[in-house]
């Protein structure tokens, strides 16, 4: 699925990023009352001051984790489209855990809450893995459907039984300050979740590229039948990798809570799952590239937000940017209309 030739990768990444930039600029120019100012904010806004730059770094850190989640599935030839729901579920699980057990000492509470979120989301994604293992149920569709079913339930929990305060904001109560991650660049939201993200990136890059499980994942991704023939327990990997992908999504959601918002807010993780997918696709098969890819996506998102400050279109702009990237990122080459290219029938092979 993901191109392995460096030239092709460069071609599609360049194309995708270029097209996304052009498109974002076009939309901002059309939908802003002050196009010149909006465009300047789009390109320079994320670096304008400590606050904006810190927030962008913070988002990049979270995208590293969701990017890893998506990359784990891709490497094994699996599609986990339930990222949106899994991130949201992790965030909610972490918050509810810390609100329930608010007597825990700080570090223990944080570690247990992260664990709780990871297990919760791993379980959700794991169902898709088990179904794939046992009944060949397409994990692409099932993970999306489970996520779609989960999001309204979490919305309900946040806006109903666990709602705190009567304002417009649908939010749970805040967790205790003892559970907040350390701020690194006040006044921005930048916090130590970024360092955790870098550590995770380091560990999983090693896992994906330098260990036997990582190698076997890659073989499965290249050809499931061949992997089975070669004695790899494909079913086991299907389940565990889906769980790993879910766990990373859950971690990212809970880091968002612990570091940034300190509460679960209705719909606050929207887009994180798709952004993770975009990051993994830009990074292609090399986990190291997740770092620059996450920065790029975070930069585009922060830029769109800065450019349209005051109007509430940043979510839409981000969706369009994501869509442009998704359209272009797996393109190998635009060829002439000779439909007779051989060997392109297998769409799911890496």
């Amino acid at each position: 699925m993901l191109s392995r030739k460096p030239s092709e990768s460069l071609f599609s990444v360049g194309l995708a990023v270029g097209a996304a930039l052009v498109c974002a600029v076009g939309i901002i120019a059309v939908f802003s009352s002050d196009p010149a100012g909006a465009l300047r904010s789009f390109f320079l806004g994320p670096f304008a001051n400590r606050y904006a730059a810190g927030n962008m770094l913070n988002t990049a850190g979270l995208f590293i984790v969701t990017g890893l989640a998506a990359a784990a599935a891709f490497q094994t030839g699996l599609f986990n489209l339930g990222g949106e729901g899994q991130v949201y579920a992790g965030a909610a699980a972490c918050t509810l855990f810390l609100l329930r057990f608010d007597g825990l000492p700080g570090p223990a509470g944080i570690i247990l809450a992260l664990l709780c979120a990871a297990i919760c989301s791993a379980f959700i994604a794991g169902i898709s893995g088990v179904l794939k293992r046992c009944f060949d149920t397409d994990e692409l569709i099932s993970s999306f459907l489970f996520s779609g079913a989960l999001i309204p339930v979490i919305d309900y929990l946040i806006s109903g039984p666990f709602r705190y305060g009567a304002g417009n904001l649908l939010s749970t109560a805040k967790i205790k300050p003892a559970f907040h991650l350390a701020e690194l660049l006040p006044p921005s939201h930048m916090n130590s979740s970024f360092i955790i993200a870098l550590l995770l990136l380091f560990v999983f890059s090693l896992l994906f590229r330098r260990t036997l499980p990582g190698y076997e994942m890659k073989i499965i991704g290249l050809n499931r039948e061949f992997a089975r023939y070669g004695g790899i327990n494909v079913g086991l990997y299907t389940v565990t990798v889906m769980m790993l992908s879910g766990a990373l999504h859950g971690l990212s959601g809970s880091l968002f809570v612990l570091g940034t918002h300190h509460a679960a807010i209705s719909g606050f993780t929207a887009g994180m799952g798709w952004n993770g997918l975009a990051v993994a696709l830009i990074a292609k098969t090399k986990p190291v590239f997740i770092l620059p890819a996450a920065f790029l996506i975070a930069y585009l998102e922060a830029g769109a937000r800065a450019a349209l400050l005051g109007s509430d279109f940043s979510l839409q702009i981000n969706m369009i940017i994501q869509s442009i990237i998704f359209f272009f990122i797996t393109v190998t080459a635009f060829k002439k209309f000779s439909f007779l290219r051989p060997g392109k029938g297998e769409h799911r092979a890496l």
Partner: protein
């Protein structure tokens, strides 16, 4: 109850028939959701502006075909992964529609224009005196009869025409078609465009039935239609049964929502269609697996 369920299942059926063609041609289109959304928006906007339902439906289909053309351009000509490109199409539709809506109607919310359009009802004068039978057969909108006709046509096309055979072959082995001097890409291209048109039609059926454009009017229906293909075991008449099942399910959910909304809790009910779809999808894959094991 019965009458409404059949009305509701028409968009599922139409979109699923389109998806069936892509599934059989080996380029499963997962962008149904976005295509339906685009179709619904343009069908409503144009029929409201022009006063003609026919023009509206044509515009809805046209817009959806355009998006599916982009999808096929990237996946078939650019060699992009069909699922990633499909996701892209979904995101594009979900991002563009609110922008357009804000631009032209000044709101991201519900668009309801003064004149209301209802698709014409057919056979409304006929009745047998038995309400059960009347509910099933008579007085439905054009889209219901259209969807039934499309089911028959799709069945005949896939099983009784050379083009249908080749479209199915494209999904099994491109190389075989190639060796016969037939280009599989053309048939995959056609399947994607037809699925775009079908989704446009389904979207038109949705928004014209409501007489308004509601944000996120597709509300997961594209994914349900996708799953209906598998529940129907990839056959047009199986899909007809699957679509009816979901028509009933959605009607029932709507009824539940009305009952429960009164008692003050509602949002979690949005998850019911997804849960039902997931359950049906898993069920279908279990049966499929059993069958394969039995053979």
């Amino acid at each position: 109850m019965l009458f409404n369920s059949i009305e509701i299942s028409a968009p599922f059926l139409i979109a699923a028939l389109g998806a069936l063609l892509t599934e059989r041609a080996g380029v499963l289109n997962i962008a149904l959701e976005g295509l339906i959304l685009i179709g619904a928006f343009f069908a409503y906007a144009v029929s409201a502006a022009s006063g003609s339902i026919l023009l509206g439906v044509a515009a809805g289909c046209g817009a959806a075909v355009l998006l599916s053309t982009v999808l096929s351009l990237f996946s078939l000509r650019g060699g992009a992964n069909i699922f990633i490109a499909g996701l892209a199409a979904n995101l594009a539709a979900a991002g563009i529609i609110p922008l357009l809506s804000e631009r032209f109607y000044g709101t991201k919310g519900v668009i309801k224009l003064v004149t209301s359009f209802k698709p014409p009802r057919l056979l409304a004068d006929l009745n047998t005196g038995v309400s059960f039978i009347d509910d099933i057969f008579f007085g439905h909108s054009l889209f219901v009869y259209g969807a039934l006709l499309l089911t028959v046509i799709t069945h005949l096309f896939l099983n009784n025409t050379r083009a249908g055979l080749r479209m199915r072959a494209a999904g099994i082995s491109r190389e075989f078609l190639r060796s016969r001097g037939v280009c599989a890409g053309h048939y995959q291209w056609a399947a994607l465009l037809l699925s775009g048109a079908a989704c446009g039609l389904a979207g038109a059926a949705l928004s014209l039935r409501l007489g308004a454009f509601v944000p996120n009017v597709s509300g997961g229906r594209g994914w349900i239609a996708l799953v209906v293909v598998f529940i129907g075991f990839r056959r047009p008449f199986g899909i007809l049964a699957g679509a009816l099942l979901f028509g009933f399910a959605e009607n029932f959910t709507g009824y539940l929502q009305q009952v429960l909304q009164g008692s003050g809790s509602g949002t979690w009910l949005w998850s019911v269609p997804y849960l039902l779809t997931a359950a049906a999808f898993v069920g279908a894959s279990v049966i499929q697996k059993r069958r394969e094991a039995g053979q």
